[in-house]
Symmetry: C2
Subunit: 211 residues, 2 copies
Amino acid sequence: VRILVTAGPTREYLDPVRFLSNPSSGRMGFACAKAAARAGHEVLLLSGPVDLPDPAGVRVVRIESAAELHREALRAWPRMDAAIATAAVGDWRPKARSATKLKKTDGELLLRLVRTKDVLLELGRRKGGRRLVGFALETGDGARQALLKYERKNLDFVVLNGPASFGAGRMDADVYREGAVVRRFRGAAKDAVARWLVSALEGLDRTPRRS
Amino acid sequence: VRILVTAGPTREYLDPVRFLSNPSSGRMGFACAKAAARAGHEVLLLSGPVDLPDPAGVRVVRIESAAELHREALRAWPRMDAAIATAAVGDWRPKARSATKLKKTDGELLLRLVRTKDVLLELGRRKGGRRLVGFALETGDGARQALLKYERKNLDFVVLNGPASFGAGRMDADVYREGAVVRRFRGAAKDAVARWLVSALEGLDRTPRRS
């Protein structure tokens, strides 16, 4: 089947040399793309700026901002059968982007941020019979946030993890489906979590989650 | 001689998973550290978060924020003979850093930024007979900004370049000393620019620039 994978951070620029971003390394997404390709699927990987080479047998499109990811993901979605959305998409971007480097000024600078488009929400809305896996990165009451995300974004699985996963090769993760944990990983290699997710997607039938 | 090299970007966090940063890859700084070590110097490399391995024969200390870089650089400076400051140090940081992930809210978010400490300025002020090379990354009237930086920060050389250098292996750069360009590089390998800078530092005597 045709699987869309999103990976890495986004960068939201305030001027040509400064941006808002996050520490995502792209490793989880690249691991998912590799696992899906090895399982024989046709994979499109949309990746933010990361220092990882294109995985073999995967079509890779590099993006930078949340807006670019939104555009590419929504464009590809009608042709896809499933998506694994690991990208750490910036939730806010500077309202204005200066064409030249902002000069240092004394005192405080007020940076006005506006919300970016919610890529995962949009994929969930246009889902039809497609399968959709989302990730929830939480620091507080993770389970509650993950379940809210599962419902609001019309997911088939939500993977709850914490900031310790960033950049690491291993991770702790709880995978939820329909309100319950279906798999717990502790100190698991991201490659192993990725292979499990691809298998789990293969195990789902194509009927919509809620009829 | 003992040479301090700073490299890479800094990250200024607003919460555990979001930060202000810049696209510096650390390549110029790592090239300078390598060139200095190969020329027989004792090198301390202070690097922000980059995906580059420690260069052979170089002591590497990894930092994350401008405040950490400031602390480590000023601590090391009395023991050093020279510094090549390639780090793209964040000029602003969020005034407050949330201990938990900020929840998405509708509408705008006002982010209050304050200035970080100016590491290069502080090194220049405590310079004595040491040698100091700074980098100016400019998008507008670069020459004027570079010369201002040269004077204000008490430099021996200032290297003017543009955002196109970020992440690339090659660069355009104009090196200034005492108001004039002493070397122009066009499409030069960063390794070559680094070797030139180390040689140029070796060619300076240790009398203060202005007596």
